[in-house]
């Protein structure tokens, strides 16, 4: 506990020097990760780390619309799908082996375009939020998300049942990002930037507007906040995150997409990450993504033998975890973080008032 305090103080002092300093240091510390993981464990963990970075992008993005702005959306996985499929279709060669449709765009053009397209789709997904709230909005967004998946599933041009395959990996000149390590730098950078921007949003006027809408929509509009504009903005911002995550997912080796990568089960897993991390807490979302991804990876082979049938118990545990989290730990890990920060602020303010450090008594 004391160590955490000390760490937090240290980071604050760095931030005083320059706002971005802690971020740059963290980024530099993360750079050698692939080699560390490879040496200590195996290259497989780099692949896992890549997937975790994608989950982080998704969770942080979802937190913007769900946590900051309080809009109940259960269709986020559909936006992820749109980002992935758009980027894949733009980048594939026309009439090629990989899929029926293709435009042969360069990847560095395809990915941003996919992100923008997804942002636009986020606008559409957000339209119901103008009129609906709570469970109604959940239903509408669920319907939209599933419709996207089904549409992909039955449209041959988008891969349909065979999926889109051999989606090209990004390259700069002759260097191709098709190994775990090289892809790590892409997604890790995206994740760090994403987390940073999430904080920027949170601390900006826009972020405050979001939170005002979350707390009390009517009071917010009475105070002059254009509720419609900010709700839609929240959806679009979170959609941009999902679009980037999707595009990066599509081009990740081996470059294969299938509609059942985007089902309700994946959405529920994403929800679990956000709930575990604490709805509305950025670092909570990051931690939630990491914990769930690692837990999933480590437990997927746990097989019990019940009546001579091998039973995989992991999905049951996941479902029950969500129920218990909501029942007993509704604020998630983020709740702990907030408590911790609140304690620190209290101690700091007490010190200021009492004129001196209370720590070494």
């Amino acid at each position: 506990m004391v160590f955490l305090s000390w760490m937090a103080d240290f980071i604050d002092s760095l931030a005083k020097r320059h706002r971005l300093l802690p971020w740059l240091i963290a980024y530099v510390l993360l750079l050698p990760m692939p080699f560390v993981l490879s040496a200590l464990f195996s290259e497989y963990l780099i692949d896992l780390a890549n997937r975790i970075c994608l989950f982080i992008l998704l969770a942080v993005g979802l937190n913007i619309v769900k946590g900051f702005c309080g809009q109940v959306t259960v269709g986020h996985i559909g936006l992820y799908a749109i980002g992935a499929v758009t980027s894949a279709v733009l980048a594939l060669e026309p009439g090629g082996f990989g899929g029926a449709l293709g435009f042969g765009w360069p990847i560095w053009l395809a990915i941003p375009t996919a992100v923008l397209v997804t942002g636009f789709a986020g606008l559409i997904v957000g339209l119901p939020s103008v009129r609906l709230e709570g469970a109604y909005l959940a239903l509408a967004t669920l319907g939209l998300g599933e419709s996207v998946r089904i549409f992909i599933a039955v449209t041959p041009a988008l891969g349909s049942s065979t999926g889109l395959m051999m989606i090209p990996a990004p390259s700069i000149g002759s260097f191709v990002f098709d190994s775990f390590t090289s892809y790590y730098y892409l997604v890790m950078t995206a994740a760090v930037v994403g987390i940073y921007f999430s904080f920027s949003i949170l601390r900006s006027a826009t972020g405050r507007a979001f939170q005002a809408i979350r707390e009390d929509t009517i009071a917010a509009s009475v105070n002059g906040i254009n509720v419609v504009k900010y709700k839609l903005l929240a959806f679009v911002l979170s959609a941009l995150y999902a679009g980037l995550a999707g595009a990066l997912f599509a081009h990740m080796p081996p470059g294969y997409l299938h509609h059942n990568n985007f089902t309700v089960i994946e959405m529920v897993t994403l929800l679990l990450m956000v709930v575990l991390g604490g709805i509305g807490n950025v670092w909570g979302g990051v931690i939630g993504a990491i914990v769930v991804a690692i837990a999933y990876d480590q437990t997927k082979d746990l097989v019990f033998y019940f009546m001579e049938r091998p039973i995989v118990i992991q999905p049951l545990v996941f479902g029950l975890s969500m129920v218990f989290l909501v029942m007993f730990m509704p604020r998630g890990i983020g709740g702990w973080i907030e408590d911790f920060q609140r304690n620190r602020r209290f101690i700091r303010r007490s010190e200021e008032r009492l004129g001196g450090s209370t720590r070494n008594s």
Binding site: L132, E133, A135, A138, I150, V275, L320, M322
Partner: protein, 303 residues
């Protein structure tokens, strides 16, 4: 060649026969919503458990189909009430009400859905099971134009109407039904009037789950029984409940029929591969433009 009215009639009949089943499940969802102010995302699993209970009773225990139907309804009602009591009840506001702020109940519902599906996997495995029901005493209907309606569909229609009538009678003409309606209207006042609100809540939940179970047992002979059958039915039933109006019981059945007919017509005349999208489309359109549905009260904003 003129428009094929024959086929059109056939598709409408198919839509009605399946729509009635959607309606029964939607009835349960609407009941839970009006009584408990929550949208139960795990309701599809109650439907599935009902179907399996019915299967076990009919095949393994060997009771005749109608007894299996009733038995499944009772067992599922008990299961539902247990789930509500053990898990959902904790999410109540202290002191009598049942409103849950924020997304807690929605997320809990999803989690419960996943958990229930996996419990079912443990018990029954992932195989689809045929549901053979001896329905020889039910007539098979033949419509002009070579349209055959098999016995299972006829039975479904009969049972659905019966259930609706029974529910209506219960709510309107019995004292307990009156208590249920009072609780649905305003829990705090009902509590003050001396009604045992927690008991009524359990009863409402049990009724809703029993209805879902009936739908499951009715669908069984038509489509076989499988652990994953709940999810799609849930979406269709939500669409039905929304179309007819959340909280309106006749609306649920009408909504169900509309969804059934709409998706069948869409599949027949537009494109069969997009069939499930039509139900979602209807859901979203109605939510956007008339969230209160056709017969519903004004859209409540509870979670």
């Amino acid at each position: 060649m003129g428009f094929d009215y024959n086929s059109l009639l056939a598709f409408i009949i198919f839509g009605v026969t399946i729509g009635v089943v959607y309606g029964i499940v939607a009835l349960g969802i609407s009941l839970i919503y009006s009584g408990l102010d929550i949208v139960h995302f795990a309701h599809g699993e109650m439907y599935m458990f009902g179907a399996f209970f019915g299967l076990v009773l009919a095949h393994n225990v060997g009771v005749p189909y109608p007894i299996a139907l009733i038995g499944a309804m009772v067992l599922t009602a008990v299961l539902g009430m247990a789930v509500e009591r053990v898990f959902y009840r904790r999410l109540t506001r202290a002191g009598g009400g049942y409103t849950v702020a924020g997304m807690g109940m929605i997320i809990c519902g999803f989690g419960m859905s996943v958990a229930l599906v996996n419990v079912a996997y443990f018990i029954w495995g992932a195989e689809a099971e045929p549901f053979r029901a001896n329905l020889d005493y039910i007539p098979r209907l033949s419509f002009p134009g070579d349209i055959e309606v098999p016995e299972s569909y006829v039975l479904t229609a009969i049972i659905s109407v019966t259930l609706m009538a029974a529910l209506h009678y219960f709510l309107r003409h019995t004292k307990t039904g009156l208590a249920v309606r009072a609780v649905a209207h305003n829990k705090d006042i009902a509590y003050l009037m001396g009604i045992n609100v927690p008991l009524m809540i359990s009863l409402i939940f049990g009724l809703a789950c029993g209805l879902a179970a009936a739908a499951g047992v009715l669908i069984g002979p038509m489509q076989s029984v499988q652990v994953e059958m709940g999810y799609l039915m849930l979406m269709k039933a939500f669409a039905a409940a929304v179309v007819g109006g959340f909280g309106s019981l006749p609306g649920a059945i009408i909504g169900g029929i509309m969804v059934g007919v709409f998706e069948n017509l869409g599949a027949a005349y537009i494109s069969p591969s997009h069939k499930d999208i039509y139900a979602f489309l209807l859901l979203i359109l109605v939510l956007m433009f008339k969230p209160s549905g056709l017969l519903g009260v004004e859209a409540k904003v509870k979670a």
